[in-house]
């Protein structure tokens, strides 16, 4: 048998093999409803991604236990975004071309969301994120939605409380150095400075860096009464810890992002008294308490906000996927008209930008725990 014949036969064999695999997959897809998801399973915010997946997994299991969606099993298909926009976009496009879904869940950082948003808008596929809080996501396009409250509103709420609740007149800002950073600065400063108060210093902190001592010194030298941290849990914990090491103990203010054991582990007792604006479960809500109990049994920890949002996202979107002729534009229209969806993370509505409207609350770190501020 000559070489040409061998090559031709080998090529045919590969094509047949791939075809049968794809065919089997298509058969499998016809039995199941797929919910494609890009999630940061590795990278700086891998923990947030993991929590979101925990919540989503619980929701998928519950739906399937109750008979699925119109008799079809729901299946989560995960691709790792790695907190890298380029990789996240590739993953998004791969899911788009494999499954042609009406919606793709994207549980990644804001930078990846903003990279995927133009594709979602062009292909008219809903991009739904349960974890990105960057203020710039508000204007990411008609097909971008989130059930995570924009950090813009959290920062503005925190500024308001700093004035009316704490009577602060001089505040420093420590903000994450990424696309979302300028939005947090603008949101806080707009409220705080409008009342004649002063932002004494603004420092940017690179994600993934572990030494913020120079920035801590810079803020300390500006003599603020309080410092607003628009940072992830790890960065916030590190900033607080390194402030404690030089004896700098202002009033710490922050957002939902710091509500994590990782922050408490890093900052320790130095985080006592940290006040932050939070969305998330209310212990007074029986649905949240039931979810928290089941989550604790399954994952041996209290559910973080990302887990609540991941859970709610699946319960919100799954019924829309089951509708006859479900498409991106149809899902989009339903979401825009959603009012008071009762989720474990709070009652959810969407505004004209696809941003979540949910009740916010004030929390404080007391005796090493996150408690509601009274």
């Amino acid at each position: 048998m000559n070489v040409t014949r061998i090559v031709v036969l080998l090529t045919l064999a590969i094509v047949l093999a791939v075809g049968s695999i794809v065919g089997c997959k298509k058969d499998k897809d016809r039995e199941e409803i797929v919910l494609p998801t890009v999630v940061d399973q590795t990278g700086p915010i891998a923990l947030y991604g993991k929590w979101a997946v925990n919540g989503m997994t619980m929701a998928v299991e519950e739906i399937n236990k109750n008979g699925g969606i119109k008799g079809h099993k729901l299946r989560l298909v995960l691709e790792d975004g790695q907190s890298n926009p380029q990789i996240g976009v590739n993953a998004f496009q791969r899911l788009l071309s494999l499954y042609h879904p009406p919606v793709i869940l994207v549980a990644t950082n804001t930078s990846t969301i903003m990279a995927c948003a133009p594709i979602a808008n062009e292909k008219q596929v809903v991009l739904f994120t349960p974890i990105a809080s960057g203020p710039n996501v508000t204007h990411a396009g008609d097909f971008v939605f989130r059930n995570r409250v924009s950090g813009y509103y959290e920062a503005a709420e925190m500024a308001s409380f700093a004035i009316h609740g704490l009577g602060l007149t001089r505040v420093g800002l420590a903000v994450i150095n990424n696309e979302a950073g300028p939005g947090y600065i603008e949101a806080f400063a707009k409220v705080f400075q409008a009342q004649g108060r002063k932002i004494t210093e603004t420092v940017l902190l690179d994600p993934g860096v572990t030494d913020y001592r120079t920035q801590v010194l810079k803020v300390r030298e500006s003599n603020p009464e309080g410092v607003f941290l628009a940072l992830t849990a790890k960065e916030a914990g590190t900033f607080i810890k390194q402030s404690e090491e030089i004896g700098f103990r202002p009033r710490w203010l922050s957002m939902t992002t710091v509500q994590s054991e990782e922050m408490l582990k890093t900052a320790g007792k130095a985080a006592e008294g940290l006040i932050f604006v939070a969305e998330g479960g209310d212990d007074g809500d029986p649905e949240y308490r039931d979810f928290a109990l089941r989550y604790a049994r399954r994952f041996a920890s209290k559910p973080a906000m990302n887990a609540l949002n991941g859970y709610d996202a699946v319960h919100l979107l799954a019924p829309l996927l089951a509708k006859e002729g479900a498409s991106g534009p149809k899902v989009r229209d339903v979401l825009y008209n959603t009012r008071n969806f009762r989720g474990v993370g709070g009652n959810l509505s969407f505004d004209e930008n696809g941003d979540a409207r949910k009740p916010l609350m004030l929390m404080v770190v007391k005796s090493g725990k996150f408690v509601r501020l009274k």
Binding site: V203, T210, G247
Partner: protein
């Protein structure tokens, strides 16, 4: 500085960019974490075990990967790629085993540091400075005064000539890798005590170490120490005056300046082609 000195020693002798040096930095910290939090050993004992293990890992990599490749006349590029593969594989093993979240080996809560000349330094930072100075001096004495130290210098100068003189270069490489790995491991443990640990921390530390070595001059311990000091000062001065987003730019501008105007670094030797 410890990381940079170890890298400098290894590069001067083995003549290739060993990316796996970065994972030794990380793995030592996680070894201490495993031994303290899961087995309950005291921090000091766990650290000593981690240092010994890291030295052994360095030797193992040399014996099982780099030496066989060298014997097959592998180029420096091949050795670099193999070390990169080792780094990626081991980093992912650490991620899988321990997770990507921040782990801590700090014994106790964050505390205000000691005031020294107007600055606040934590106990770990003071310890890091002392250990770096003592080990730097110790290594310089070792290289200058001991038989093995002289052999290492001979092999880094000219391997062929050293072998002709009866020096076993394979043995020299083994000792060099062991020393460099212990230094990287110590750096990893001290850094983790200061700023906690993540699986990806090794690469950033390695890159800074490489820049410090180039600035200081390959093979020169005082040069490497000076390079590390210059780099850290410039970075933090830049953050203070301009902003943290310029930190990496400052690092690479300094590197570029040295490569253009003083490629041998502070104390490296300028090499000229011999004219025949």
């Amino acid at each position: 500085m410890l990381m940079a000195v170890g890298f400098s020693l290894m590069y001067a002798t083995a003549r290739f960019f060993n990316v796996a040096h970065g994972i030794i930095f990380t793995s030592a910290a996680y070894t201490v974490f495993l031994l303290t939090s899961h087995i309950g050993l005291p921090l000091f004992v766990a650290s000593v075990i981690a240092l010994a293990l890291s030295g052994l890992i360095g030797c193992l990599l040399e014996l099982s990967i780099y030496r066989p490749l060298r014997r097959r006349s592998a180029s420096a590029l091949i050795l670099l790629i193999s070390s990169l593969g080792i780094y990626i594989a081991l980093q992912n093993v650490i991620s899988l085993a321990f997770g990507d979240d921040t782990k801590t080996i700090r014994p106790g809560m964050p505390r205000q540091g000691i005031a020294i000349l107007g600055a606040n330094m934590t106990t770990v930072q003071v310890l890091t400075v002392w250990v770096s100075v003592v080990l730097g001096i110790g290594l310089a004495v070792f290289l200058k005064k001991t038989k093995m130290g002289k052999s290492i210098r001979a092999v880094s100068n000219d391997r062929s000539l050293a072998e002709l003189s009866g020096i076993e270069s394979d043995r020299v490489f083994l000792v060099t890798f062991a020393i460099a790995s212990v230094l990287a491991a110590l750096a990893g443990i001290l850094v983790s005590l200061d700023v906690d640990m993540t699986p990806t921390m090794g690469m950033a530390a390695l890159m800074m170490a490489v820049v410090a070595v180039i600035i200081g001059g390959i093979g020169s311990i005082p040069g490497t120490a000076l390079g590390a000091l210059l780099l850290a000062t410039a970075q933090h001065f830049g953050i203070w005056k301009v902003g943290s987003h310029w930190r990496e730019a400052i690092t690479f501008v300094i590197l570029l300046a040295f490569l253009l105007f003083r490629p041998q670094g502070f104390f490296g030797k300028k090499v000229r082609k011999a004219a025949v």
